[in-house]
Symmetry: C2
Subunit: 243 residues, 2 copies
DNA sequence: CGCCAAGTTGAGAGCATTCAACCAGAGTGG
DNA sequence: CCACTCTGGTTGAATGCTCTCAACTTGGCG
């Protein structure tokens, strides 16, 4: 399986690609690189010359504050390019790290510029990818803000489950969740202890439960209702569960 | 003064433009439209065929939840195109409204596509604009999450002041603030009452104060320290105060 | 003058944090 | 094989931040 396949799966989940676009993507020079759990690929303040295609594993972007506190601003699944934005903004304002061990493929910015110059449509698709990234950020602002902890956690689980399903990771209402409760908490701005209690509540209410690090959707409609979740912001061409 | 001037000022604050790019921008067909305070230009769920250049006044994007609660996810000053993203993602996942009365210039997506097709660099600059938008979202996630209320408010004021200064609205450490305390609160996920108390605290600590809706920076370094503010994420070519 | 939006202040309730203890399972080294 | 350690998860109790409710002030405007 070629390194680029994860990217094709992801991009075809959000847009239509022509044969020419697929061939251009296949022509990208991609260098594999293995990351250890917790290893930072792009630290805050750096000026990347490459972007990373996540092939296997999970990554997160996080902001580190002066007092040592951390805020996770995004999670990433295979097929995504978490630092695509570095193509047009020079300096990293956050750290991009592997959460669990991860395999990435680094792509030189010049390579990306080459294929974009040859296909305006491909440029638009990649632009679109960064815009969906931004749409997710908007939801996360609300997760951390007005949406309470319970709704915020439910919303995060809805989102992750659908994204996992779009790349074929989640089946039969369950998904091998690659994040700890502490990490889920850091994403919605609560402590690991509180995250634990909130998850317990979601289980008691019969919405969703995490057991031995696999997420079980007990009742999608209930989870969705608690979250106030509307999947359109993910801009997936097919939304499997949200019918 | 041409309608497009605000856009030129903004884009030249974040990137270099060639004469050709300026001419292309000047060729955009822009329809002026006046908005009343609180009027929604693009409601959540709509499918815009135009984007709006904000010429005068202020706008905000907000998410409305099922229980009627609102979260403001961004503020916009003249020169910005708050719904540029609708060029590549069809459906609005939030509402774009005027905060105070505002003058916008609507630009058909086809017009934007025309100039982008003629200048790859201009396309890159507009892409960059949406990426900076996303960088601001990331900070707002943290404002609403791990950063406490005091630091969050301080961070928001730092950001708004620098953005206002970049377009010449703020002078002499003071800025005619177009937002109410309630709106500032809705942006960092706190109530207007708490926002009031936090602002009082920022004044007592000698960092910043809002008097008769003008923001006074009492001590930039103190405000910056409280916020843990680092201006690089705004990607302004010149950062006036942050020396 | 009266109304209304915005701001200010106080008090009590509730949610989330911190501190602290403890459990379970995986991996390590003797 | 078994202690030992470490990470992740679970639970309780006290503290404290933020919300809600409520009252009151101020300034602008018809």
């Amino acid at each position: 399986m070629a390194l680029v396949d994860a990217l094709l799966t992801r991009l075809e989940a959000i847009a239509a690609l022509s044969d020419k676009d697929r061939a251009l993507l296949a022509s990208l020079k991609i260098e594999p690189k293995q990351l250890k759990a917790g290893e930072a690929l792009q630290p805050q303040g750096s000026r990347p010359s490459h972007s990373a295609l996540l092939i296997q594993g999970t990554m997160a972007r996080l902001q580190e504050m002066t007092d040592g506190a951390r805020q996770i601003v995004s999670f990433h699944l295979p097929g995504e390019i978490p630092d695509l934005h570095s193509l047009h903004i020079e300096r990293m304002d956050h750290t991009l790290s592997a959460v669990r061990p991860a395999l990435v493929g680094t792509i030189a910015h010049d390579e990306l510029r080459r294929v974009i110059a040859q296909s305006g449509h491909l440029g638009a698709v990649l632009w679109r990818e960064t815009l969906i990234d931004a749409a997710v950020f908007r939801q996360w602002i609300t997760n951390n803000g007005k949406r309470g902890s319970l709704a915020g956690m439910a919303h995060l689980l809805c989102e992750l489950f659908l994204r996992a399903q779009a790349i074929g990771q989640a089946k039969n209402e369950s998904w091998e969740m690659p994040f700890t409760q502490a990490e889920l908490g850091e994403a919605i701005g609560i402590t690991s202890i509180h995250a634990n209690r909130i998850l317990k509540q979601l289980k008691t209410e019969g919405a969703a439960a995490i057991e031995k690090s696999v997420l079980h959707i007990i009742a999608w409609d209930k989870l969705q209702a608690i979250a106030g979740f509307d999947a359109t912001y993910l801009h997936l061409k097919r939304v499997p569960l949200a019918a």
